[in-house]
């Protein structure tokens, strides 16, 4: 039942890339409003544990995903209060959120370690016409459409215009009759929802277990992916695929029995992150929202 190597790599790139894509989109929408959230890893963890816990209690993985989104939104709004209302430094507050998420997710997930939950079921269609490959669940199918939807929201709606204005120069958004604070809160609520769903995909579709710290740095990779995607939701799709692909490729190469050191292969995704930041990083100046990381102090 050995399937074609390329098909296997592609399928697993999509599977590994899905949680990264949701997380990247979650970070991206916040950054478009001018807020850097280094706590994404914590948001993902909260999503992974809250989603797993809810799925264990209700026996329904979809309710788990919903619960994850709500928990992520709540945590991100808390972050919003700190950086928007209290105007705390975003980088410091973000790192604090990361540790908060680490602890809170451990607390939420603790009673559910070892619980057996129904995972997100594969949805009917076999991938690439190959029966033996794992089937994609709802979150996988929805990932790219969500990216397109988010692109429309940011670039084709009045709300998106206000959001981008807030990210570039909040005073302009303010002058046009919008509230930068409200827009930023809205962006963070949406971002928290998406980021947490990224975490829930790990616990509810891939691992089928909850484990403390199970996101293993994927939240930080997603922050790097926002730069790679040039703050554009459409670009986030190939970005997440490339990184999901790096992990899938190295594991498939090992499974195939390729005579390359496993130590070298486990490095591939991180090496790729570094390389892309080196060769792509210069775009930061041209594409990054101009007010990224700055608090809005109102207009005189």
């Amino acid at each position: 039942m050995s399937t074609s190597f390329a098909a296997a790599v592609l399928t697993n790139s999509v599977l590994s890339g899905t949680s990264l894509l949701y997380a990247t989109l979650g970070e991206l929408v916040g950054e478009r409003a001018g807020i850097v959230n280094l706590g994404l890893e914590g948001i993902m963890l909260i999503g992974a544990s809250a989603g797993f816990a809810a799925a264990a209690v209700t026996d329904d993985p979809y309710l788990g995903v919903l619960a994850a989104g709500i928990a992520g939104t709540a945590a991100n709004l808390l972050f919003g209060y700190v950086v928007i209302v209290r105007r705390a430094n975003q980088l410091a507050a973000g790192l604090t959120l990361m540790f908060f998420g680490l602890g809170a997710s451990a607390l939420i997930g603790r009673p559910f370690v070892g619980a057996i939950v129904p995972g997100l079921p594969g949805l009917g269609m076999s991938v690439l016409g190959i029966e033996s490959l794992g089937e994609f669940d709802l979150l996988v199918w929805l990932a790219a459409p969500v990216a397109v939807l988010l692109w429309c929201l940011i670039f084709r709606t009045s709300w998106g215009l206000g959001l981008r204005a807030t990210g570039e120069d909040p005073t302009v958004a303010f002058a046009s009759g919008r509230s930068p604070e409200v827009l930023r809160f809205q962006a963070l609520a949406l971002g928290g929802f998406l980021g947490a769903i990224g975490g829930a995909h790990l616990s509810l579709a891939l691992a089928l277990t909850w484990d403390e710290g199970m996101t293993a740095g994927r939240g930080f990779i997603a922050i790097a992916l926002v730069i790679f995607a040039r703050w554009n939701p459409l670009w986030a799709v190939p970005a997440a695929l490339v990184f999901g692909g790096a992990e899938a490729l190295q594991l498939q190469l090992q499974a195939r029995g390729t005579a390359v050191s496993p130590f070298l292969m486990t490095m591939i995704p991180y090496l790729l992150t570094l390389l892309i930041l080196v060769f792509w990083g210069w775009n930061r100046r041209s594409a990054a929202p101009a007010s990224l990381g700055r608090s809005f102090y109102g207009v005189e």
Binding site: L15, G114, I116, D211
Partner: protein, 373 residues
């Protein structure tokens, strides 16, 4: 607030408490065991245990907890103090110190990285006894223990070799240290003893507990044709559940409780059974005869073969049981000639590897596909 109000409030509170206390104590009295059982209900020994993860992991920590529960059941009056998710840092020293303050006289430090911290406390508290899992340090009140897993993997290989149709076996490994490579090697030797065409594919995840990657690793092995997968990571839960979902056989490791996760495609597995050792150690502490040692025991002692899954035919069960018996009686799969997967003879005719050598593998036996480093 004037002091008067405060006092009256406290008084009101204490009378309320008193009123509550009377029926509660009556209830307690009724619940007390009859006088004859009173003596056995006294604490004979307080035992402390620290775990690096959660005891509900279907893996390493679960096996440790099961061992301690067996000890508690075997010695009436044992009190068990437990702490989960204790990191391998100075934090563990504080947790164990707290247990000693609560009267613990015997402490099981169950993760490798707890060793130095437990040892520090052993120096500080010569009247408290320590057992550490997997280390090497020794003191009059400090011993260590672990399962000699390598040879035990041989019958697992026999099971996999008989169950496979594709002749491809998948092994998810956390970190390819010598002991893990030894496990993989014995697994491959066992498989090829019954099925010379069988080959073992190894995927290294790079950590002991990265669940999403373990799922992807298991998927990769299955995509590349493996129809029996097994693993050496902290918790077998993810790999076993991934295999079950894909309709592929799995073989467990660490705790035999893992079979609950795969009602259909579970083959068998190895689980640590620490109960008898922990019971004997606790008894020796009660008797005042604790002997520190470097205890390493294999199949039949600290390691047990898990029950078979429903898909395993009777003939295969008999073969696996026979192989396990053979290992229990002292058969060493690492008896020469053993060739590595590049064709070099690593263990010569007439030689055999055991003991400390099990940790020094940096080569895969013939039949394992991949590079160890």
């Amino acid at each position: 607030m004037p002091p008067g109000t405060m006092r009256s409030r406290t008084m009101r509170f204490s009378t309320m408490r008193l009123r509550l206390l009377i029926p509660v104590s009556l209830l307690l009295l009724a619940a007390l065991p009859p006088a004859g059982q009173m003596a056995s209900a006294q604490t004979t020994l307080t035992v402390g245990a620290i775990y690096v993860g959660s005891v509900n992991d279907y893996g390493y920590n679960r096996a440790m907890k099961d061992g301690l529960e067996a000890m508690k059941a075997a010695i009436p009056g044992t009190k068990l103090l437990q702490a989960e998710n204790v990191p391998e840092t100075a934090e563990s020293e504080r947790v164990m110190e707290g247990m000693i303050q609560q009267g613990a006289k015997l402490i099981f430090a169950t993760s490798f990285g707890h060793q130095q911290f437990a040892f520090n406390l052993a120096q500080k508290h010569p009247d408290v006894f320590f057992e550490h899992a997997g280390g090497w340090m020794q003191a009059p009140n400090f011993g260590n223990f672990f399962g000699a897993t390598q040879a035990a993997w041989y019958p697992m290989g026999v099971a996999a070799g008989k169950m496979t149709k594709s002749n491809t076996l998948g092994f998810v490994a956390g970190v390819p240290i010598g002991y893990v490579i030894g496990n993989i090697n014995a697994f491959a030797l066992g498989a090829r003893s019954v099925n010379p065409k069988a080959e073992v594919r190894v995927v290294v995840t790079g950590g002991w507990s990265d669940k999403a990657k373990e799922a992807a690793a298991a998927n990769a092995l299955i995509d590349q044709g493996a129809d029996v997968v097994t693993m050496h990571v902290d918790s077998p839960a993810t790999v076993i559940q991934t295999a079950e979902r894909r309709g592929v056989y799995s073989i467990g490791f660490q705790s035999i409780a893992a079979r609950q996760l795969a009602p259909k495609f579970w083959v068998t597995g190895l689980g640590f059974t620490w109960g008898p050792f922990m019971t004997a150690t606790a008894k020796s502490v009660i008797a005042g005869a604790f002997k520190p040692g470097m205890v390493r025991e294999g199949l039949g002692e600290m390691i047990t073969v898990a029950p078979f899954g429903p898909a395993v035919p009777a003939a295969t069960r008999a073969l696996v049981t026979a192989a396990a018996d053979k290992v229990e009686k002292g058969y060493n799969p690492f008896t020469g000639p053993v060739t590595d997967n590049t064709g070099v003879v690593r263990i010569k005719e007439g030689e055999s590897w055991g003991g400390d050598k099990m940790g020094s593998f940096d080569w895969y036996v013939e039949g394992v596909i991949g590079k160890p480093k």
